[in-house]
């Protein structure tokens, strides 16, 4: 298919490089240098999508990121597909596959369109809320179909094959925007020697200079652009980032830049390249040269394809060599739009008429157009367009802009393109990201950046400076200012000469009046992406939504992926007029990051897949793998869960492991337990203050179990601490609590008791810990150590230093299983060798490796708690029946003591830790099951507690559980019931939480 709208010459495209692409299944051709939007227009594609609510056909309106309609799905495969790509910002590449994001069965014959036509008048703002509100339970059903009909793009179903990354950057001056002002600013700052980053969102630097008919030093403006870029590229401290949108201006001059490095090359990145990069920049000064977006006029049927922004028409003609029509009608409020008419004439096309809302325009551009014989209709505007899938005529009438009235009958002009310009809205988004409110300037009819908490200078159009010569000067001065404020010497330089022209101010016009009232006139669209009309905004204000934020939320104005870049100012002007207040009184909505959508890939960077979260392995991990361990995640650690033998399920493996420990000996990798080395003359006093029990009398060589509480008296960690020397202790914490406890110790030492001389060092990774547990553990250990393991030489709750497997070791005789146990600690890099020696010696004892599941069963049989399983931040030591671990007479009011003496903690009938023995010994209570005393009571029942741990015990031959039950310690022998979700009931008897060996005979041998 030929490119029917391609001009025979001109544009910055490479006509020697034709590129094929497809849109909605049809193949077209464009050229290298085209955007997808330019290529679609070149091929005469008028309809690119259907509208959100009314399903009206929509075409391309703009040429930049402000485009509301040409939001497409790109990519030929499920893995490569990307939703909501603005065709105006997507460079064309060979084989690009695009489709509309909505419209069914197709954008040209859309069934929803009929609904829009029939029901359009009955779909005011809030329509969905008002209509589908009742009955409430059907909303889910409605929503499914509403979303399907209205959808904007579709998330990919397969993994993105590309990679993305972050880059952290620091610079003296970050220049945002590579148009006239930005280039001049970068030049000034770069020449001063400052470290400069220049970021621009387009494919090429230059902004409007690339399609401007104005000259610099008498030559095309693009020549100056090339010269400046060459100079900047030669500066060592200057970084040029094209295709890079600064999308967020965060606190303390931290800005984020979304760089699309290969999106212009193909649907997946070339091998070895990153598709997109997120630059995280800390800039000492920022120059915002973000330019301005042209504001469209709001008139009836302004959404029919063939209605465009005036400036966009120039861009397509001059930059891409594309004429999006043949016969142009222009509707303007200002001088600048006349350039469009001149460009159009130069391309050999017909300007039917220019409607200028000003009564008597006489600017230089106006006179130039007039001299070429263009029909200029003053004091007039296009009040309505006609056409279904393409504009066929426009109605121009005389208007009184101030009184918002049409003063003559309309004149219908045949045309296929209506271009409108209501002036320029500075791109104040970034300047307002930290909450700074933009300020309305009546003289230029625009919001400009207000005060903000930003170290920035604004330059050019964003400042309300529009004439090219002034823009260049403003940019250069901003660059000088930013560089000198960061400590560099100011530079001077010659700026190119701009041909001076007489310009006249524009007139305030947002919504064009129609001879019918707003409510009765054909639809006048304000926000095309969300189908918000002028009538909708009027209705919202009539219904009492007076704040601009409320109007926005009620009508959905600016809620689209374009964030209302074209519609918002018109919308609030209409709301202000409808309420009879000024635009300043109305104010703007908040501007928040991101300026344009950022892909999830760029946000995630490398932090996905295996790199999403670090994984911690113990020194013995490869041994576990070799021995068939199944792993469990405990925090970031991979811990062996159980070691199944061939054909065993988890239940069988755990049963076998438990039996081995109880009958002979097992070995557990306990390296993940937190270990904190505590030293200093006040170490002992410090322990007294952070643990609930007393540490004053713990001798060197001994170890003690301790509970840690928060100030509220609730248990938050536990573990064994051993005394290595009078000033030296080593504390163990729970695996998950290690970092938390470390910080807890630090905050008390540093902020509350800095007078205590004590120091903490995390040594978790320095030591590997192997726990030998079971009646044969002594015999086995004796074969690999020189330590005297005799009952009296090495009693329970003591530790010894010596050689194990030939390397120095600390051995702790402590037990978490209730069996005779030794915890062998060796330097982590010796651990594998030591383990191999123990395993070799252990063969004759049937030494069995066991994992966390067996450890949990064994400790539960003994009633030992696990913090975070038996406790949940609302459990005191007394609730756990661990009052023996509370030093009630310690002189210092240690952490938790005051808290646990609050009235509520002393109350009778608190939930207390007890054992549960199901009446049916084969029934295992589900962990977390709620308990009741009377199962016959009506629903909702009064819950009296819940199951915290529950297992089947192979060694005891019945199921058992630990539970927190109201007043449980005084209810021994009573029955509780667990009513389960499936309607069944498990009955259990309340028993002591210690099921096995209550006297501790097994560990004291």
């Amino acid at each position: 298919m030929s490119q029917i709208n391609r001009l025979s010459r001109g544009g910055r495209i490479d006509r020697s490089q034709p590129l094929s692409f497809s849109f909605n299944g049809q193949t077209y051709q464009g050229y290298a240098g085209d955007t997808l939007a330019a290529a679609l227009l070149a091929n005469g594609v008028d309809v690119v999508g259907r509208s959100f609510k009314y399903s009206r056909p929509r075409g391309i309106v703009a040429a930049g990121c402000e485009e509301p309609n040409a939001v497409l799905q790109i990519g030929s495969t499920e893995a490569a597909t990307i939703p909501n790509v603005r065709a105006t910002q997507q460079a064309l590449y060979a084989g690009l596959t695009a489709s509309s994001v909505n419209g069914w069965p197709s954008v040209n014959t859309d069934l929803m369109g009929i609904l829009g036509k029939v029901g359009g008048g009955m779909m005011p703002p809030g329509f969905y809320y008002k209509t589908f509100m009742y009955p409430q339970n059907l909303w889910l059903t409605y929503e499914k179909y509403i979303r399907k009909a209205a959808g904007l793009g579709r998330a990919p179903k397969e993994n993105d094959p590309d990679s993305y990354d972050y880059m952290n950057q620091h610079c003296d001056v970050l220049v945002v925007g590579g148009g006239a002002a930005g280039l001049a600013a970068a030049l000034a700052a770069g020449r001063s020697g400052a470290r400069v980053i220049l970021a621009d969102e387009q494919e090429e630097f230059g902004g409007h200079l690339l399609d401007s008919r104005e000259t610099l030093d008498g030559k095309p403006a693009s020549e100056w652009v090339a010269k400046v870029l060459a100079e900047l590229a030669g500066m060592a401290e200057v970084t040029l980032l094209p295709r890079a949108t600064v999308h967020g201006y965060h606190d303390h001059n931290f800005l984020t830049i979304h760089e699309r490095r290969t999106d212009h090359l193909g649907e997946t990145a070339p091998l070895g390249q990153v598709r997109q990069r997120l630059h995280r920049v800390r800039a000492t000064r920022v120059v915002l040269a973000t330019g301005a977006h042209e504001r469209p006029l709001v008139y009836s049927n302004n959404d029919v394809p063939g209605n465009m922004l005036a400036g966009a028409v120039s861009t397509y003609v001059r930059r891409y060599g594309v004429a999006p029509g043949k016969r142009l009608v222009l509707s303007t409020t200002n001088d600048y739009a006349y350039r469009v008419a001149l460009d159009w004439l130069e391309a050999g096309l017909q300007v039917v008429a220019i409607a200028d809302a000003r009564p008597n325009p006489k600017g230089a551009w106006v006179e130039e157009a007039r001299a070429k014989g263009v029909r200029i209709m003053t004091g007039s505007a296009v009040i309505e367009a006609r056409g279904s899938k393409r504009v066929s005529a426009a109605c121009v009438a005389r208007i009184d802009a101030k009184a918002h009235k049409v003063t003559s009958s309309g004149d219908w002009l045949d045309c296929d393109l209506v271009a409108s310009s209501g002036g320029y809205s500075p791109v104040v988004h970034l300047a307002s990201h930290l909450g700074g409110r933009p300020v309305w300037r009546e003289d230029i009819l625009a919001f400009v950046p207000g005060e903000g908490f930003q170290q920035r200078v604004c330059a050019g159009a964003v400042n309300g400076v529009f004439a090219l010569g002034d823009v260049l000067t403003d940019g250069f001065e901003a660059g000088v200012k930013a560089a000198t404020e960061t400590g560099f010497k100011p530079v001077s330089g010659e700026l190119p000469k701009v041909f001076g022209r007489h310009e006249e101010p524009s007139i305030a016009l947002f919504q064009v009046p129609h001879d019918k009232s707003t409510a009765r006139a054909p639809k006048q669209f304000v926000d095309q992406q969300n189908d918000v009309t002028a009538a909708g905004i009027e209705l919202a204000t009539r219904e009492g939504f007076e704040s601009v934020e409320h109007v926005k939320r009620y009508t959905a104005l600016g809620f689209g992926t374009d964030q209302g870049k074209l519609g918002n100012i018109n919308g609030l002007a209409i709301a202000a007029r409808s309420m009879g207040i000024s635009i300043t009184q109305m104010g703007t909505t908040m501007f928040r990051p991101n300026y344009t959508p950022v892909s999830f890939g760029a946000v995630a960077g490398r932090n996905c897949g295996a790199l999403f979260d670090p994984v911690r392995y113990t020194a013995l991990h490869s041994w576990h793998l070799k021995n068939g361990a199944e792993f469990e995640d405990v925090g970031q650690w991979k811990r062996p869960w159980y070691f199944p033998k061939r054909g065993e399920d988890m239940h069988a493996a755990v049963g076998r492991e438990c039996k081995a420990v109880r009958d002979s000996v097992g070995i557990l990798d306990a390296s993940t337990l937190g270990k904190i080395d505590i030293q200093g003359p006040d170490a002992r006093e410090f322990l007294n203050r952070v643990y609930t029990n007393a540490w004053t009398k713990l001798d060197v060589g001994k170890a003690r179990y301790g509970l840690m509480c928060k100030e509220d008296g609730m248990v938050f960690d536990d573990g064994v601490t051993a005394c290595l020397a009078d000033n030296h202790f080593v504390m163990t914490t729970t695996t998950g609590g290690a970092a938390r406890v470390m910080q807890w110790l630090e905050i008390y030492q540093q902020t509350e008791w800095p007078e205590l001389k004590v120091y903490f060092t995390s040594v978790t990774d320095h030591w590997a810990t192997m726990t030998l547990s079971g009646p044969n553990s002594r015999k086995l250990l004796a074969e690999v150590t020189d330590i005297d393991l005799g009952k009296d030489a090495f009693p329970f709750m003591t530790w010894k230093e010596g050689l194990v497997g030939g390397v120095p070791a600390r051995v702790f005789r402590i037990s978490f299983t209730g069996e005779l146990s030794y915890e062998v600690n060796v330097q982590a890099d010796y651990a594998m060798g030591v383990l191999e020696k123990i395993v070799a010696a252990g063969k004759k004892y049937n030494l069995t490796p066991y994992g966390t599941e067996t450890m949990h069963v064994l400790r539960a049989e003994k009633g030992f708690i696990i913090v975070g399983q038996e406790t949940d931040g609302s459990v005191t030591p007394d609730d756990l029946n661990m009052g023996w671990c509370v030093g009630r007479t310690k002189p210092f009011s240690w952490i938790g003591w005051r808290g646990m003496n609050r009235q509520d903690c002393m109350r009778e009938n608190r939930k207390q830790l007890v054992g549960l023995k199901p009446v049916n010994p084969d029934k295992v209570l589900p962990e977390g099951a709620q308990l009741v005393f009377d199962p016959k009571q009506p629903v909702p029942m009064s819950m009296v507690g819940h199951v915290t741990s529950s297992y089947f015990s192979t060694s005891m031959g019945y199921s058992f559980a630990l539970a927190l039950v109201k007043g449980g310690l005084k209810r021994m022998g009573e029955r509780v019931f667990a009513p389960l979700a499936d309607g069944t009931l498990i009955e259990a008897e309340i028993v002591s939480s210690v099921f096995l060996d209550p006297k501790g005979d097994r560990q004291n041998i």
Binding site: H250, D251, H252, N253, F254, R280, R282, L434, G435, G436, R437, G450, E451, G452, F453, S547, G587, E711, D712, Q743, E746, I747, Q750, T751, E752, P754, S893, W897, R898, G899, N901, R902, Q903
Partner: protein
């Protein structure tokens, strides 16, 4: 993202390296046992939430692991000073009222 000067390291570093630890200058009662339940509850649970100047406790968690104090404007996020534990702030609400910025000036009542 805030840029915070760690008074221990003597360097300006990014917020990612730090954690906040709540309001500063809330000393633990010297003798908790003399506190009523209400006083103890006050100490444990009640904190100021000012609009403007605020003294906060921070830790350089991914750095020197030291705690320090920050005087920060909760409106503009401007940091006026950072100082070590035990030192007194030189910027206080009495000495300096937080600048009334456009964030407040422009907001609708």
């Amino acid at each position: 993202m805030l840029n915070i000067f760690c008074p221990h390291c003597g360097e300006q570093r990014s917020e990612e390296e730090f954690h906040t630890a709540g309001q500063a200058h809330i000393p633990r009662p010297l003798d908790p046992s003399t506190c009523t339940d209400e006083e103890w509850g006050e100490y444990l649970f009640f904190r100021d939430n000012p609009r403007g100047l605020h003294h906060e406790l921070w830790i350089h968690a991914a750095g020197c692991r030291q705690y320090f104090n920050v005087t920060r404007d909760t409106l503009s996020y401007e940091i006026f000073e950072t100082y070590k534990i035990g030192e007194k702030p030189s910027v206080t609400a009495k000495a300096k009222s937080a600048p009334l910025t456009s964030r407040t000036a422009g907001a609708k009542a």
